[in-house]
Symmetry: D3
Subunit: 325 residues, 6 copies
């Protein structure tokens, strides 16, 4: 049954919310500003933009597929014996998009991030993409709100996302370079975990080295364990920056776990590694915002492994937030 179909009263009894709560029954979908006053722990919004992707992408469909998948998840995380119901999470809808004016879309995303930070100053913002170009807008909006704060990036990705903006503008191949070049972040404050194989050209590696971007290939990360690698990256970041932004490009996952991304590859991360890494990231008190990008439900299998992995990633991250000391 659609989550929105509350059956009428005369025949179908009212649903009595018990202890068995599904995610769709728990996350509050706000209908307007007046509801915005509540002291939300997490404020989530969709960013349905993928016309800025290098290759054809349906990542714009993810926010809807993400919400629809909620009913398949309980709020209780058995691995951490944590019930997410104790967290107040609001879904404030999707950023408004224009169909042919991509710069306008990007401005809307940045403005939304600024509004969210202003309007919900104590909440943790989570953006659900959309493609990776949005991260440049979101972090840049954050930087405008907190201009004095040094921002670091923890990135899970198969790609460096350091392409030259002068080639094709702010595509999903450019967000990290975009932020470095506009001065919002420093290259040395970027930690990218998950690179592997033949999906980054030598010139991007050279740029990364010049800018001192920290990239840890999946192979290296596995040597000490992905979780330990994340811990180490966070420790270094915590020593250097005020605020950490976590960005998860779902193409970091292996094609057998995540066929539903614009450019799926063999040799990538397993879902369990991502889930554990993301949990660890959420524990860090300096992590202040997060996004999940480049998940294209139109390329997913019928059983939706990638969409479910996206939702699982989100909920695992929230588990970490709730378990912060």
């Amino acid at each position: 049954m659609l989550p929105t179909i509350t059956p009428p009263g005369f025949l179908w009894p009212k649903v009595v919310p018990g202890t068995d709560v599904k995610v769709n029954e728990w996350i509050k979908q706000l209908q307007g500003l007046d509801e915005g006053d509540k002291n939300w722990d997490v404020v989530m919004f969709g960013v349905p933009l993928s016309r800025s992707s290098i290759s054809a992408s349906g990542a714009s469909e993810f926010p809807e597929a993400f919400r629809r998948s909620w009913k398949g998840f309980s709020t209780y995380n058995i691995d951490h014996e944590t019930d997410l119901k104790d967290l107040n999470v609001a879904d404030i809808g999707d950023v408004k998009m224009h169909f042919t004016d991509i710069p306008q879309c990007h401005r809307n995303i940045k403005e939304t991030m600024k509004e969210v930070l202003n309007h919900f100053p104590t909440s943790f913002p989570v953006a659900i993409g959309g493609d990776h170009s949005i991260t440049a807008m979101l972090v840049s909006g954050m930087k405008e709100i907190y201009p004095k704060k040094e921002i670091g990036i923890l990135q899970f990705d198969t790609h460096l996302d350091l392409r030259d903006l002068s080639d094709h503008g702010p595509t999903n191949g450019t967000p990290i370079r975009n932020l470095i070049e506009q001065g919002a972040i420093k290259g040395e404050n970027v930690y990218n975990i998950g690179l592997h194989g033949f999906f980054n050209s030598q010139s991007l590696i050279q740029y990364a080295r010049e800018k001192k971007v920290n990239y840890i290939t999946l192979k290296e990360a596995r040597k000490m364990g992905v979780v330990e690698t994340v811990k180490k990256a966070l420790a270094e970041l915590e020593a250097k920056v005020d605020t950490i932004y976590v960005t998860i490009d779902m193409d970091v996952l292996d094609i057998s776990f995540a066929p539903g991304v614009p450019a799926s590859t063999p040799g990538g991360m397993r879902t369990e590694e991502l889930f554990e890494g993301v949990y660890e990231a959420a524990l860090s008190p300096k992590v202040k915002a997060m996004d999940i990008v480049c998940l294209d439900p139109t390329k997913d299998h019928q059983a939706q492994p990638t969409v479910k992995a996206g939702t699982y990633t989100f909920l695992t991250f929230l588990t970490g937030l709730l378990n912060r000391e």
Copy 2:
């Protein structure tokens, strides 16, 4: 964007409903009885039952897939220059189902039909299945409300649905026999259009003949045209009965048009024939209720031809209702 996500007020402007209305913006999803007072032209409800099907069926998923498809349809029917907005349609939700007590499910369906007829006496009820077993419950509920009225059936189907109930109870192969045997209808007041090929055994034909069920094979129907056949059947029914119930088993369609049914077959009806036949049926003033059954979205192709055909059928039927003289 999910139909339910009304974006908050501060960043995303309110949607201003203009003349370009999608079906999901038009059909009113009721949340309770208090809204039931309005003078609805059509009252629609889902019947998510398919565990009573002979073969494994996901037809229980259709009510949700049906509603989700609405946003792909405008309310304006260009073929008949009719805007459905002039019709007041309420969606009152789904009949409550039990997971292991099929007789209870069937009782709920019958009771719902009775409640709907009592509560919305001037509305036209439409049931969205679910499998064909539900038709026996719906018509039987109608008969209890109007015990004096003679009810006729106009059926679009690849099957006679006259199987013996003593074999496996009220499955999706039995509804018409079920109704005949319980005395709710007479065999001679059933008109079944669309039979073809090798999908009905000789014993069912014999039963049909004994009970004087009128069956018109697709081949015969095409000789005079499906629309003309429907007109003729309606004319005969109008002369014999007080009330006509229209039941549309989506497996009447050819497998190339409707792969998403439990037992799709070659040699079936084209969608355009069904749409035209259904429009004609809706014009008849004695037609008082309708259902669409045996559409299994889990077997559909990715582009959802069958789900879309189901929604198109529903909207075309409503167009006919609106254009009744």
Copy 3:
């Protein structure tokens, strides 16, 4: 349940064959020669060869998929009010194939046809391919048994199958030329219905004209109707030959009806046209053998429209046989 699983006696009651017989319960699967004595009306065998196809083909899987589909079909044909149970049909298994010696496969096919004609002299042989190369072997075997008889061919096909054997040997593009060049048939005794579009080169047309092969494009056939075209072809053949062989290449069907063929095309025949044409063909008393070829179940959709169309074609043909005067 698998057709072969007869449940043991103590718990599961014996199936009591009633009037509702499925095709798998009706066609007798012979286990050896001793059963061969019965006076079968039709003797059917599988020819699981497709390594002789020009492009990669899984048509070798069709005999198994064909038999497995039987349980979805009743023996009663409602369009012709005919119950196939009155026909005695034996399935004698599959021709033995070698995995790397295609000429040996072809010899086995020819020998099988000869054995069948010798051993079941009063039966009607039906071969289930496999690719179209097998038709040359089957007809050639028939010619050796009846060397004095003039054999004609009624072919439903998108292709002429007149490719030069000196290019790549007896592939699925060559059977008709193969038969003409070995003298088994005359070009003028071939009637090919269903050609369309861009799938036959000009050189093949030239060869067809030289050899006086009668080809009727689908467009032309539709002008008088496919059934009338078949009737006309049969009438001409009946006046010229002693024996007519019907060969049905399933790629004659449009890609929307039959995606499961090695080279599916738009612009092809509808299933209903094929079914009606095939029924008509079976009525002709001079039609003495038949095959169905180039149906590749590995390319079919999940709902198996092509496999079902193949079985429907076979059963419709049998209906015609039964209704011969």
Copy 4:
């Protein structure tokens, strides 16, 4: 084998082009301007833009899928006994696209059309989309080259494409209105064939009426036949305009024939109707350019019915060009 893999000389013999020519062997793929001097009958180019589509679309992939499908088609059209080899066709590559600057993409398309008309003044240009937004650019480019000429449009479409540009700019829902509002064409010189069902809002119909756009629903077109309808539209256009541009939105086709479009619908045109209509259109001496748009290969079935239908449409159109008197 890839069309580009010419095997070396020592082991693999040279392919000797005979009379059996495939489309990929016939259409000349130009590598630079110097080859542009030849007197080409048709000059074809790809327009891989679909980020301007309302919904997520992979129509940008069609030019590549289109070219790759050529090897499945012979140059000989058996329906019209015409060999396309007699036509000189050049493929000049794809229009260069920017990844985030949609206006720049649109300018490139317009400039390309102008360059093509200037550089190949006697050739017939064919554009392979991409989404329908490109038609506004192509016709507008043509208008700039021939400012004195009155241009008419023959459109095959499920949609009017008359959406308001002020909503979301020049998307695939707007090209006809775009052209009317910039004065490149008059509404009364647009003939749209194929509308049906619930896919155009009432406001667009009103706009169409105001601007005197001629729209003929599929249902109406079928009453006199699609071919006759096309003939009538062409006759009227020939009397009113100097130049006719044919634009084919593949979503005019029924979802069972063309699942691979962004918004496939039931109740649409059959491929055979489109092919015949397009052939007729190509015969008109005033038809001077053509495009095929909104075919999304990423949504197609594995057997590629939609891609093949696109190529079939193109080749059928060329057949008509060759057969012009």
Copy 5:
């Protein structure tokens, strides 16, 4: 070739069973009681029931798909250098199911288990589901035959299956609670391995704790290894109970390995872990019966990873049985 098609003798030589035996040639499919006298090591039966599932499930199709997959497996297990041919395995068919009377289906399952235990007292029974509701019936039947024996459960599952029966009766979410509440087993004698993520509500955890159900999350199990975890669970069970029943819910597997289950999830077990755990379980002399449930072939990929994993699990379990000391 279908396993049932033994080709006739005159042309096709008899298959001479050599050392290369496929599973379908080895497992004996019994046709009636008289064959039941043999001293079978293992007696296997199908339980094609899934209309008792919470969500729409085609697990009823697994027994047939399971048997059909046998021909892809040799009897020789190279990992354990064991040839299963040394085990006598009988397939006695499927439990008879009613289409609308689920309680009757459940009674039949229980009665079958009792009959099997009575009729084949020295054989090891294996049930092939069907959904997980059947386990309650099978174990309960076993308890009635051996009322004095304490029965323990080793469960591989993503879910606790401890839902309240008063909600929706004995669905696939309830079997363990069902058995506890009817007194057939004690909670402390249940060992559930494989729980992870967000798929069990807090109330079920509470119930598990109250009843002392031993649940080991996948994460915990991996710390010492899945095999070691199974060993430890068996050791504890062996100390407490007389008889151990192994139940394998295939949804314990990760969605990338097993898409073909009603509710596939990311973060689950790998097939190799399940295979090794199951082998270990079969070695325990107290393990006396086993089932495999909730495998839905209609949701599987074309290459059938889940069906093959089910068969592999079964054969690996048999390998363990054969290698018991």
Copy 6:
């Protein structure tokens, strides 16, 4: 854009090859012998033969799919900080195949290998299958060129490929036995890594033992690590033979990573294990030739995990070649 479409000069600027080179821009596709003079490090050719497969296979389509996938791969391998651009790689096209004469195909393959070794004596040959039958031809050709050299085989496979040739000739189940029996190699010089489960009969194991074929099951290999196992096998081979041939049957991979093989199985190797093993193999100076076989793109998922894994394997092997000391 197709790799072959170089856009003309007037509108589309020339592509300026920078440091970001895709594999399709790097590998040189030779058009004839005259280009053969260059001192290529690697010479690659396709072997599009799969009609010699036991079961229906589309592995003949892999050479084309392989080449088409190149544009998704950069030449830079981040795991080994190696840019493949430093290697000169030529693609000399495909071996010419006959459609019905499999022995002729096999002769062509052998002759090609001999020609390649003669014509490019300093180059490393790589063959892209096709099915595994080709390996017997390739190694046998190599043996004829270097009759004095002892050749060893390093094989990654789920099967022993030791079937008896007298059964069905040189299929994909026989290459290793074929080479042993013709005396080209000794059994003791074969190292097969990756066997598991139920996919090799006991008789083949017996043959392997008789011939002293070294087979290491995946389970055993994982005990010391796949890389260490490969190292050990190479060390033993290097001590015994002059030349090592590496043959990679892609069915060694688990079905979840490689659905696109003729007989995919659960319980197989992970891609990362194969990539690392293959890299190690390429480092050995005695490794002199390599093939990749039994990858069937027609069975792959839409995202092409298997095709991409094949290309990844090839590029990883080349990385090893480049990094040889």
